[in-house]
Each structure stands twice: as C-alpha cells, then as structure tokens.
Amino acid sequence: MNLQGLVIQLLSGMSVGMVIFLIAVGLSLIFGTLQVLNLAHASIYMLGAYLCFWISSMLSQVSGSFWWSLLMAPLLVAMFGGFLEVLLLRRIYGREMLDQFLLTFALILIIGDLCKLAWGVEYHTVDTPWPLDKAIIFGGLVFPRYNVFLILSGPLIYVGLWSLIRYTRLGSVVRAVTYNREMANALGVNVPLVYTGVFMLGCWLAGLGGALVAPMSAVMPGMDMVVLIDCFIIVVIGGLGSISGAFLGSMIFGLVTAFGILVAPRLAIAFGFILMIVVLIIRPWGLMGKPER
C-alpha cells in the first residue's frame, strides 16, 4: 500500500465517520437528557435518507433539488420525532429499561415497514448534487468533492452544537435538565418541553445524516440496522451523553473501520466491537463521559 492509498483511506474513513457522527451525537444527546437509549434512532436516520430521495425526485425539475431536500427532509424527520415523543416515548420515562428497549425496538419494526410500504423494497439513489459532483485532483490523488464536503460539515455541526449547549440560554436549560431533572423542574423549567425539544433536535441530526448519506450510498431497507450498531460503538467509546465524546468516537470509529478493512476485511467489523468492549471494561462511561452519579 502506497502513501496515496493511505491518504485516500484516511479521507474516506473520515467521511464515513463524520456522517455517523451526526447520527451518534443525536443518540447520545437523547440518552444524556432523556435517559432513554433510543434503538429506533437509526430508523429515523433511514427515514431522513428516504425523504431526501423522495423530495429530490419530486423536485427533479427544480435546480438545486438536493439542497432543498437537504433542508426539508431533516425538518420533516424532526417533526415526526416530536410526534413520537409526545405520543409514545413520554409514556415510558421512568419505567424499566426493558420497556424502553422494547418500545424503541417496536419503532424500528414499524418505521422499517412503513418505509417499505411507501418506497418499496428496491434500492434508490440520489444524484450527487452540483457543484460537488466532480472530483478533486490534488498531487495525483483523486477524491470526490462530496466526501470533502462531508468531512467539513461534521466539525461544523459539532462546533455549532457544542456552542448551542455551552453558550445559549437554551443550552443551559438542557444542561440543567440533564444534570438534575427534579431540580430543573422545581426551578420552573418546563421539563417535558425540553424533552420533546431535545428529542426533536436528535432526530433532526439523524435526519440530516440520512439526507447527507443519500448521494453516496443506496437508500434501501436495512440500512438502519448497520448504522445502529455503529452508533452504539461510537457513543460507548466517546461516552453516552457527551457531544465531544461522540465526535471523538466517530473519528476513531471511522479510522479503525477504514484501516481495519485493509488489515482483515472479514473481521473489520469486529474491530469496532473490540474497541467497544475494551472501553466498556476499562472506562464504562467512555473516553469523554463522566462516571455515573
């Protein structure tokens, strides 16, 4: 393997990592605030990808159709998320973990089948949008522009999200609820509203991830389960509930998978799990998380 190959591998590892970051960070945010591990989070991501495909194919006559769908699909997904939270998730807060697992698992099944009903079982593609449909050629390296776009959008979202939580009034409310729900409630914070808001934000991020992934991979049933497991690995490595942790975890995961494929193609997927096991055993709260109170 020459240097060029390594650089390509590095870049593609990072672009994979950045898309998964968007999904994982939503999962982590939701867990941190709502204390619910939403198994259906990746299904929300899949819905985002389908909606991106659907909207951009409906607007195929309009120029910049992809960009319109990139804007609209995540918003629709967020609204759907809000609907789920108010209608279903709200009933199971504070119940046993098993109930939460099963409810969100049921959502996987339902969302998966609804997507099949709406868009069939065949796979769909979305064209790479202008002006990102060319490749960048640099020093003998050929690399798609779209991937560069993905690599750049990851850190952008990370910084935006981090500032939102760290510096805004909204963020401090979310942090208060995350830190101590009863106390926040006593101080007059509308906790259910924060829950719905955070859940919608998480879903928006997952929907964005789905829309961004549509041009570079096939949109089809089952695309959720693969990503779900990857997200688990990432949030565990980084620390459940931590935004920075999700970012770090995604980078590590993207690179480990990209280079793992070079080393042992069939076992590449196991590297992520081994990483996850090691982190869980040594530092269950993850690299960037805090030990449980």
């Binding site: 973990m97 409810l103 339902i110 096991i277």
Partner: protein, 324 residues
C-alpha cells in the same frame, strides 16, 4: 392457609400434567407441518425461559442472548460434521460450550450495570456473530452448515418432536426448581435492590455471574436442540434480530411469571406464522403488538390473565363480605 397452599399446588401439578399430556398426544391429531411448528415453539420456550432467569428474575437485561444460543447450535453442528462423536454427546457439548463462553463473557459483563451491561452483552454477541460469519474455512460463513447428520431414529419429525418435548420438560423443570430455590429468591432480591442485597451479605457479582452462566447453558440447550431440529445452522442465529425476538417473546408472555416466556413463545410463533401467511408486513404488526402490550398490558399475557383472575377472586371475596 396451609390447606389453601396445598390445594393450589395440587391444582398446578394437575395443570402441568394436563399440559404435558396435551403436547404428548398432539402429534396424533395434527400434520407434520404443524408438529414442526409446535417443536419450534417448544425450543423457543427453553431459550426464552433461560433468558428470563437472567432478565425477569435477576433483572439483568441482555441484548445478546442469541450469541450463546448460536454457540450451542454451532458447537453441536460442528461436532456432527467434523467428528464421529455420537449425537447425544454433541447435543450435550452445546450447552457445555455455551456455559464456558458465558463464564468468560459474563465475568466482564457483570462488572457493569444498566445500559452498559446490555451494550456489553450486545458487543460480545456481535463478536460471536462476526467469528461465525468470518471464519469461513471452519464455520462456512454465511453459507451456514447444512445437512447436519442426525441419527436415524431422530430423523423423523414426530420422533424428534418427542425427543425435544422430553428435553424441554426437563429444562423447564430444572428452571422451575432454580427460580423457587433460595438462589432464585436471592436473584429476585438482587433485581429489586442490588445495594440492599449486598448489605445482607451477598456477593452480588458472583450471583449475577451464576445467573448469567445458567441462562447461557439453557440458551445453549435451545441452540443445540434447534440444530438437531433444523439440521441446518446459519450465522443469523447469533444476530441482533434473534436476540430481540427472544426479548419480545419474554415480554409478550410476561417476564415476572415463570410460564410467561413459554406462553410467549407459543403465541409469538403462532402470530408470526399466521400473520406472515397473508402479509409480508409481519414486522409492522409485531411492532404494533409490542406497543399495545407495553401501554395496555404491562404484565404480558400471563400477567394479564393472572391479574384478571386475582381481581375476580377479590371481587368474589368482597361480595361475600357484603353478604355477611
């Protein structure tokens, strides 16, 4: 009071005998296709009841029971295709191997709690899945192991059914003994309040590990038994869907009742086959069933009925009270 208990136990014994007799004579009345179906229910009942020892009784929610189930199935399958070891021993080797793997996996897992425990069990079962999937030369990867030789007398569907029925009954009896033993009661205390359990002098991790391993052994039995039943094994025995299927089965029947998982298996497979026969959207239906169960029938099927019976008795008693 005492006579009441005796009576209730007699009632239970009669009920169990009747259930056994029902399953024993069943093949006389139904076709081979249905016998297979019932056989599948029986095997799933062992897996789910085994899982429930850990989940319902000890309160440890595993995301990865399918890993140990697959260990049982593959151990038996590999022994049967690569060696001359007789079927009976191969069948025993499955749970033994599952038990050994459980000790290793469980040793790590019981160090964690809540979501972290669940995620670690998931990671381990995914590792098992990857090994089965990736070690093509040994396990045949995603082609699975097909046409596993089974002894002549067990190759007929009906004979294998009776064979399974006996093993399933033995397993359920053993599980019944375990959950009603001091150990079983201690596990329930652990589920209710681990901290307090430690303060009455229980080394909780050791008990959790024991529960994990016992669960693993029964999952292994179910895997091995299914291997002989199906005569083919595939990597998806170890995947997440299989694990969730087992969890759903437990929920469906009711995790706080001994027979919950067994009843859940029967109902689950029945629903699966019936609904799948007229629509490909069985997952959608299952999802809706789960949501209805979670919101309206929290105790599962067994819980629902036993609560209804209790409520009826209560009403009866209240009436008597009034008339006095």
């Amino acid at each position: 009071m005492k006579s009441f208990f005796k009576q209730r136990n007699n009632g239970k014994a009669v009920g169990l005998l009747a259930a056994f007799a029902f399953f024993a004579v069943l093949p006389l009345f139904i076709g081979e296709g249905y016998i297979s179906l019932v056989n599948e229910m029986l095997i799933l009942a062992v897996a789910a009841s085994g899982l429930n020892l850990m989940m319902g009784y000890a309160g440890m929610v595993s995301f990865g029971p399918s890993g140990l189930y697959a260990v049982g199935a593959y151990t038996t399958a590999l022994i049967l295709i690569y060696t001359e070891i007789p079927f009976g021993l191969a069948l025993i080797a499955g749970p033994v191997m599952a038990g050994i793997i459980s000790v290793v996996v469980g040793w790590f897992c019981v160090r964690l709690t809540h979501v972290y425990f669940s995620l670690l069990t998931l990671a381990f079962s995914q590792i098992i899945h990857t090994i089965i999937f990736g070690w093509y030369g040994f396990t045949h990867g995603d082609d699975g192991i097909v046409d596993i030789p089974v002894p002549e007398f067990l190759s007929s569907i009906t004979n294998y059914y009776y064979f399974s029925l006996i093993i399933v009954c033995i397993c359920l009896a053993l599980l019944w003994m375990i959950v009603n033993s001091p150990f079983g009661k201690t596990l329930q205390a652990l589920r209710e309040n681990p901290e307090r359990t430690e303060f009455v002098g229980i080394h909780i991790r050791r008990y959790q590990l024991a529960a994990f391993v016992l669960s693993g052994v029964f999952l292994g039995v179910a895997g091995s038994l299914y291997c002989g039943f199906n005569k083919n094994v595939f990597p998806d025995f170890a995947d997440v869907m299989k694990s969730t299927e087992m969890l759903v089965v437990c929920l469906l029947g009711g995790i706080y009742y001994f027979l919950g998982p067994a009843v859940g298996s029967i109902v689950y497979i029945f629903l699966d086959k019936t609904i799948s026969s007229f629509t490909e959207y069985w997952p959608l239906a299952l999802g809706l069933v789960i949501i209805v169960l979670l919101i309206f029938m929290r105790g599962g099927i067994v819980g629902f009925f036993s609560e209804s019976v209790a409520a009826m008795k209560e009403r009866g008693r209240a009436k008597q009270h009034v008339s006095h």
